[in-house]
């Protein structure tokens, strides 16, 4: 890998045209105007094909951007009734304002709204703390467990003046965030076991792991959710039933585990063979070699791809609407069932899409940053 690639620069830079000659001559000139002209010439108008493409792109922007801005900002209705919105050509953000509570927190009792609000803030804070590399210590695990206990108490309530809220009333952002976080954390041990199983020398264990991983990875999440929703009740003895949310969560965990297993396998395979041999030479058995030598190195390596798994999990939780849970997408669809507002689906989907985008984009950026940072420390 060369330096340009590492820095994320496009390798294909403007080394094709005569512009590279001009770069040298003009670089000496500090004039801002001339520098701007030079930048324009290098990046937008080097050669007639490039100029033509630039003009086409500008025309496209001129065609798309003004109407879009008009719709989003200038002609938008920010508050008012459905009739006010009907009268305007712009977006009806009044719909979002009116239904904000329902979209973000589902059917959670309105008087108790501070609880899901606080839960979301708490969860985001825990995630934010976990993003700092300095805090990647054992106490973080304890911190997570503690936070989940607090979150559970807060959401269910039923003590200290907080009314009990059964989890079929949970919805919106807390549900989306919760399903995704619990999904990845819950899938962690199973995924690790499967990854180790796949690397195992014991044929039965290896076959079992490979079968599970490939079976789950070969089918869509929706089939696993269907299984969780329709078949789990059949698996249980008479009289025992488990809650719909828990079933979906188990389905998500079983599904994510197969993908995490492949991520972990990548980490395990990246550890040089010498490490395994050195551990064996020290007289360490399988478990101690894994626990003390291999996994601490492998798991650090796989943190960026695990963040990527979390991103896809976060997006995939939207599938739970198919089995009747109300995540963010579900709540916005619920909001759209209110007849006077039902025309404003574009606004609703754009709003929820923007929330998903913010989370996923931020996390993807973080994964990219992490990869670069960890690459740096490895190069030392």
């Amino acid at each position: 890998m060369n330096a340009a690639q590492k820095d994320g620069l496009p390798v294909t830079g403007p080394l094709t045209s005569d512009a590279s000659v001009a770069t040298v001559e003009m670089a000496a000139d500090p004039g801002a105007g001339r520098r701007a002209t030079k930048w324009l010439r290098d990046n937008l108008f080097s050669g007639w094909v490039n100029s033509l493409l630039t003009i086409l792109a500008l025309a496209f922007l001129a065609w798309v951007v003004p109407p879009m801005l008009n719709w989003v900002l200038f002609e938008a209705v920010w508050s008012g009734t459905p009739e006010d919105c009907q009268a305007s050509d712009g977006a009806c953000w009044a719909f979002i304002g009116e239904k904000m509570r329902l979209i973000l927190f589902g059917q959670y009792p309105p008087t108790e709204q501070w609880r899901p609000q606080l839960s979301v803030l708490l969860l985001l804070a825990v995630i934010a703390v976990s993003l700092v590399r300095r805090f990647w210590k054992l106490w973080l695990v304890g911190f997570w467990i503690l936070s989940f206990v607090v979150l559970g108490l807060l959401m269910w309530g039923g003590f200290a003046g907080m009314t009990f809220v059964p989890n079929h009333l949970w919805g919106g952002l807390p549900l989306t965030l919760g399903l995704a976080t619990v999904g990845v954390i819950g899938a962690f041990p199973l995924g690790l076991a499967l990854a180790l199983g796949r690397q195992s020398r014991l044929p039965f264990i290896r076959t079992l792991s490979v079968t599970y991983i490939e079976l789950i990875r070969g089918v869509p999440l929706i089939t696993v959710l269907f299984m969780a929703s329709v078949m789990f009740p059949l698996f249980l003895p008479e009289g025992v039933s488990i809650d719909k949310l828990l079933r979906a969560q188990i389905g998500i965990i079983l599904f994510t585990a197969a993908y995490l297993a492949e991520v972990f396998r990548g980490g395990l395979q990246a550890i040089p063979k010498g490490q395994y041999e050195a551990a064996a030479d020290l007289g360490l058995g399988y478990w101690r070699a894994m626990g003390l030598v291999i996994l601490p190195q492998a798991l650090r390596l796989v943190i960026p791809p695990t963040v990527n798994s979390f991103i896809s999990m976060f997006k995939d939780t939207s599938l739970v609407i198919i089995i009747g849970l109300f995540d963010l997408l579900g709540t916005v669809r619920l909001a759209l069932t209110d007849p006077p507002w039902s025309r404003f689906h574009t606004e609703g989907y754009v709003f929820v899409g923007a929330i998903f985008f913010l989370f996923c984009f931020a996390m993807a950026r973080y994964a990219g940053y992490l990869e670069k940072e960890m690459g740096k420390s490895d190069a030392r």
């Binding site: 060369n2 690639q5 496009p10 390798v11 294909t12 403007p14 080394l15 094709t16 290098d42 990046n43 937008l44 080097s46 490039n50 493409l53 630039t54 792109a57 500008l58 496209f60 922007l61 020398r201 014991l202 044929p203 039965f204 264990i205 079992l208 079976l215 990875r217 070969g218 089918v219 869509p220 999440l221 929706i222 089939t223 269907f226 299984m227 329709v230 078949m231 009740p233 059949l234 698996f235 249980l236 003895p237 008479e238 991103i311 997006k315 939207s318 609407i321 198919i322 997408l329 669809r333 689906h345 574009t346 989907y349 929820v352 899409g353 998903f356 985008f357 996923c360 984009f361 993807a364």
Partner: protein
């Protein structure tokens, strides 16, 4: 206790645990089924389905059996997956190359496209397009009678469809002959280039020959051609080819979502080609488009194909979300069947098996393709 003995012991223990869990679950399931009077087995596939399906590639009526309904669903899934893979590859390739363009504006536009569509759940995109088509496009009435031949309405997209009549078979034979000729021409051209170094534009000439032969065959067949154009009758259009709004939404959503991922795959593949290859190609005086086509892309392909395969598999699996917008795909039809017969286990087993089979077929094909590309390496 020796290591070998311990290994065998562990495996026997694991086997006992797995068998125990399976026995417990199967036992419970059989009890539950017996108590709820649900039949087991695949006998229901021969029963009459008794429900209509809004679009089908084969003849289907509610009087047909469940097996045929299932086949309709499989074909619909395959249809949207194949078209989606095709379109997403083309768009992804273009966006991925633009992302690396020296043109700053184009590179930015491509980046915006990639980030915007990658980071929003595909299900959200599907329901968005479905709602958009249903509500924002005009109804056939509003479109009116003199709207031209290509019609975008909320009841579907309509476009003229060529009907060849009696000259159809001639055209097909001509096309086949032309393609055969192209194949031999290409072989000869490559052999000559390898032997003498003189290139021959076999792609252009071959295409020309193929089209010419097909055209002559069509003339020989009587030169019949009729465009069946959509016409407004009553509340809807008749004639021409129709793309239902549900299919359009699924295809649009899957294509755009997957193309954003493919663009990133293409970009990283191109960036994996060493800079020296660009410089060497440039110093040979090749144009940028030629450098890309002859030097960079063939090498990038080796990096691209494995992750590209994953994207194809993802698209196929994501097509199962069609159920959310009412496109009668495999899952949607299995779901209806499951609700009517109560035989959830069999229905789920069938569609899981079919998705697995589709995944395996795609993997095998891409592995074969990968092996072919890898052979080019010296």
């Amino acid at each position: 206790m020796s290591a070998a003995f311990r290994n065998i012991l562990y495996q026997i223990l694991a086997a006992i645990i797995v068998a125990g869990i399976a026995w417990y679950l199967v036992g419970n399931t059989l009890d539950n089924l017996a108590r709820q009077n649900i039949a087991t087995g695949f006998g229901y596939l021969d029963l009459e389905a008794a429900y209509g399906i809004s679009e089908s590639m084969i003849d289907y009526a509610p009087t047909d059996d469940y097996a045929r309904a299932l086949l309709v669903g499989i074909l619909n899934t395959v249809k949207v997956a194949v078209l989606g893979v095709f379109l997403a590859t083309i768009i992804g390739l273009i966006v991925g190359i633009l992302r690396l363009s020296p043109n700053w504006l184009l590179a930015r536009l491509a980046a915006v496209y990639i980030h915007a569509f990658r980071n929003v759940p595909v299900l959200l995109q599907l329901v968005f397009w479905a709602a958009f088509i249903r509500a924002s496009l005009p109804s056939p009435r509003q479109v009116g009678e003199d709207a031209g031949d290509i019609i975008l309405s909320n009841r579907g997209f309509y476009f003229p469809w060529p009907e060849l009549g009696p000259s159809g078979p001639f055209l097909l034979v001509g096309l086949a002959l032309g393609l055969l000729g192209w194949f031999f021409l290409r072989r000869w051209a490559l052999a000559r280039q390898a032997a003498t170094g003189r290139p021959f534009p076999h792609a252009l000439v071959g295409l020309g020959v193929t089209l010419a032969v097909a055209f002559i065959a069509w003339l020989a067949g009587g030169a019949t051609l009729h465009f069946d154009a959509p016409v407004l009758t009553g509340f809807n259009f008749q004639g021409g080819a129709r793309m239902t709004p549900e299919f359009a939404a699924v295809l649009l959503g899957l294509t755009i979502y997957t193309s954003a991922f493919i663009a990133e795959v293409v970009r990283s593949g191109i960036m994996a080609v060493p800079r020296g290859q660009w410089e060497a190609a440039n110093s040979l005086g090749l144009r940028r488009s030629l450098v890309m086509r002859l030097i960079i892309l063939p090498q990038a392909m080796r990096v691209i194909i494995p992750p590209l395969t994953n994207q194809y598999l993802n698209l196929t699996k994501n097509s199962s979300l069609a159920v959310a917008v009412g496109y009668p795909d495999l899952v949607s039809i299995s779901n209806t069947t499951m609700n009517q017969t109560g035989q959830a286990i069999e229905a789920i087993a069938i569609f899981m098996a079919i998705y697995l089979a589709l995944s395996i077929v795609t993997s095998l094909f891409m592995n074969w393709f990968n092996a072919r590309m890898a052979l080019v390496e010296r």
